[in-house]
């Protein structure tokens, strides 16, 4: 099959609503209408009936339901109710899933260090936040390049999960071969502290299953009422995988100067892993969209040369790898991407979605409009501090420029947490009021 046929097949799968128990025929019809609207906007073959509106909400459902972020992360039933309330009340064309409300108890069991969250360094009504540090040291590139999975399990896990610190003592699993060359590698599994770590793993696994059950039930309920999930899978740019969670911003920036060859090698090694992650998660969900939050490639972070060499080269490979599997990379370009537009338009037509934040949308439409569906840009400052009328005026203008001739999804620029509900309502209504293509 060609990638076009594969993509068509993935869209068909999504559109079929296979496994969804629709509450009635109208819900089923709405579901198909919404998916078709998004599909048409993405593929650039046909102008959709109207501009799809898929707000990128983060913790908004908690604030809207009047519960704290802490409640959201610890009381799964409350979280489920909040998610449903938001979607049923405001009726977006697609919703962001409950993966954005990760289970607090799970991270407690593992004594997670990479983030702080309510009750663990953050107030109850505030978002979970990443704690950047060098979880991989500058001199550990060789170990990562040689065996990334081994590095993750025996070096990275012990550093980001306090409960898994004993994993440092594990032997490389690839040492296991033939009868006389096997038993030695298992000795660490006999250590009490390693066994305690495995108990934490089992407990965390149980919690993850419990949480996933609730998430699945919420998806079922929302989709059963005719609301598709906006994204199926997730992956990241290799540069961000390394920069966000392993080396940190500071570390990876210095590596570009001090050890560029090793950095490039590591990025290459991570590329197929990033593709695998996106493919397996999107295929399991039966939804072609692969969410990819982009961080360190934004305007101002890297020079043009650095962006092309260190960021885009491997990101493009991941994007192409996903496209070859019939998937649709959904790239969330936070910050500005004005200086990157000419570079990123080197992609096949109708295969990606670019969600922009501060990027000039007229320019994005001009440069990227024939290649990709663009989305986003309603400023979070406006949504937080402006009036509903101001939001509508902004959206109306945006639809005029960026929505011209299709290929556009109305959406906010940065993740929506605590904004006045009437402003989000105004954003959603704008698509229905100003976004009908005749």
């Amino acid at each position: 099959m060609t990638r076009e046929e594969k993509q068509e097949q993935m869209f068909e799968l999504w559109l079929s609503g296979n496994g969804i128990e629709f509450v009635n025929q109208e819900a089923e019809r709405s579901y198909r209408e919404r998916v078709t609207r998004i599909k048409d906007a993405i593929q650039l073959k046909k102008v959709p009936d109207r501009v799809p509106v898929c707000p990128f909400t983060g913790l908004f459902p908690a604030y809207y339901a009047g519960i704290t972020v802490q409640d959201l992360m610890y009381d799964y039933d409350k979280a489920a109710a909040a998610w449903k309330k938001y979607v049923f009340d405001l009726e977006p064309d697609a919703y962001m899933g409950m993966f954005l409300a990760p289970p607090g108890r799970f991270f407690e069991i593992l004594d997670y260090k990479l983030y702080q969250w309510p009750g663990h360094g953050v107030q109850p009504d505030r978002s979970y936040q990443c704690l950047e540090a060098e979880y991989m040291k500058a001199d550990e590139y060789d170990a990562l390049i040689q065996d990334p999975s081994d590095f993750w399990v025996r070096v990275y896990f012990p550093r980001v999960f306090g409960a898994l610190k004993p994993f440092e003592k594990l032997a490389p699993l690839t040492d296991v071969m033939e009868m006389p060359l096997t038993c030695g590698s298992f000795i660490p599994f006999g250590f009490p502290e390693v066994q305690a770590a495995f108990k934490a793993v089992l407990e965390a696994g149980n919690e993850a299953v419990r949480w996933a059950g609730v998430v699945r039930a919420v998806d079922q309920a929302l989709q059963g009422q005719g609301f598709p999930a906006f994204v199926g899978g997730a992956s990241k740019a290799p540069f961000d995988i390394l920069g966000d969670t392993l080396r940190g911003t500071h570390g990876i920036m210095l590596d570009m100067y001090r050890q560029p060859e090793k950095l490039l090698r590591a990025l290459e090694v991570l590329t197929p892993l990033a593709i695998r992650m996106g493919v397996s998660s999107a295929k399991a969900a039966g939804n072609p969209l692969v969410f990819m939050p982009l961080h360190k490639g934004a305007d101002g972070f890297l020079s043009d040369q650095q962006f092309r060499t260190f960021y885009w080269a491997t990101l493009r490979k991941v994007i192409m790898g996903l496209i070859e599997e019939g998937l649709v990379p959904f790239l969330f370009a936070e910050g500005g991407y004005n200086t990157r537009l000419e570079v990123i338009c080197d992609l096949p037509k109708g295969k990606t979605v670019w969600l922009f934040d501060n990027t000039d949308m007229a320019k994005a439409k001009e440069i990227l409009g024939d290649t990709a569906c663009i989305a986003g840009n309603v400023p979070i400052s406006l949504l937080t501090l402006g009036t509903a009328q101001e939001v509508k005026d902004y959206c109306k203008q945006l639809i005029k420029t960026a929505g011209k001739g299709g290929g556009f999804i109305l959406c906010n620029g940065a993740v929506i947490d605590d904004v006045p509900p009437e402003n989000l309502r105004a954003l959603i209504e704008s698509a229905k009021e100003y976004g009908i293509y005749s």
Binding site: M253, F301, D417
Partner: protein, 212 residues
């Protein structure tokens, strides 16, 4: 400053020639050049880095690398610094990430750049409550307060800090600058701050203006 007029050390720092910078600093120390003179040259180099950033030729990556090199030089010079100089009354800036937000990459860049420009920076860290900002302003007499944020949750908190400075009777003595990804002119108006800094260099330039 024009590149040709810069000293070799300043230029090497501006051009991020790390090895050459360390080599030159070592030579200068060996030749008995005073640490303060060495720092002055480095400040010039850091100013050059800031200029290149403003001109759109340097980016965050170069800023971070320059700051890293500068920090290493300061570490090397610290033990041989004349003690009295440590407490001279330089131009002071109080800075921190506001309460509820624990991000500090942006703030740290500003801090390094300010130090590289010769400011004394009182860095209060992250998740800083309003009263701590006020206390630091009182204690140090700093005339500039920088508020950093990454999350848009922080708009009301930045406003709270501005109000606390007003209540403390310091508002007319202190210039308040906000900065960070979610900030813009609309946010500045909402918070009541004096300036919104688009980037680190813009922030440093505002500090220079206040103290000029």
């Amino acid at each position: 400053m024009e590149k040709e007029k810069m000293t070799e050390l300043a230029r090497a720092l501006m051009e991020l020639d790390e090895k050459r910078v360390y080599q030159l600093v070592d030579e200068k120390i060996k030749n008995g050049i005073s640490p303060l003179d060495i720092i002055a040259e480095c400040n010039e180099g850091m100013a050059g880095v800031g200029d290149l950033f403003s001109a759109g030729q340097y980016f965050l990556s170069q800023m971070l690398f320059a700051a890293e090199i500068f920090k290493n030089i300061m570490k090397q010079l610290e033990p041989i610094m004349p003690k009295a100089e440590a407490s001279t009354s330089r131009d002071k800036v109080v800075i921190g990430t506001v309460k509820g937000d624990i991000h500090d990459i942006g703030k740290n860049i500003v801090v390094n750049l300010l130090r590289g420009s010769g400011f004394e920076v009182i860095d209060l860290g992250v998740d800083v409550p309003a009263e701590k900002f006020v206390e630091a302003l009182r204690e140090t007499g700093a005339r500039v307060l920088g508020l950093s944020a990454l999350l848009n949750f922080t708009y009301p908190e930045m406003k709270t800090v501005v109000e606390a400075v007003t209540e403390a009777g310091l508002r007319d003595k202190v210039t308040i600058i906000i900065g960070g990804a979610p900030c813009n002119e609309q946010v500045r108006q909402f918070t009541g701050a004096d300036y919104y800094a688009e980037d680190a260099v813009a922030g440093v330039n505002i500090c220079k203006k206040v103290y000029s």
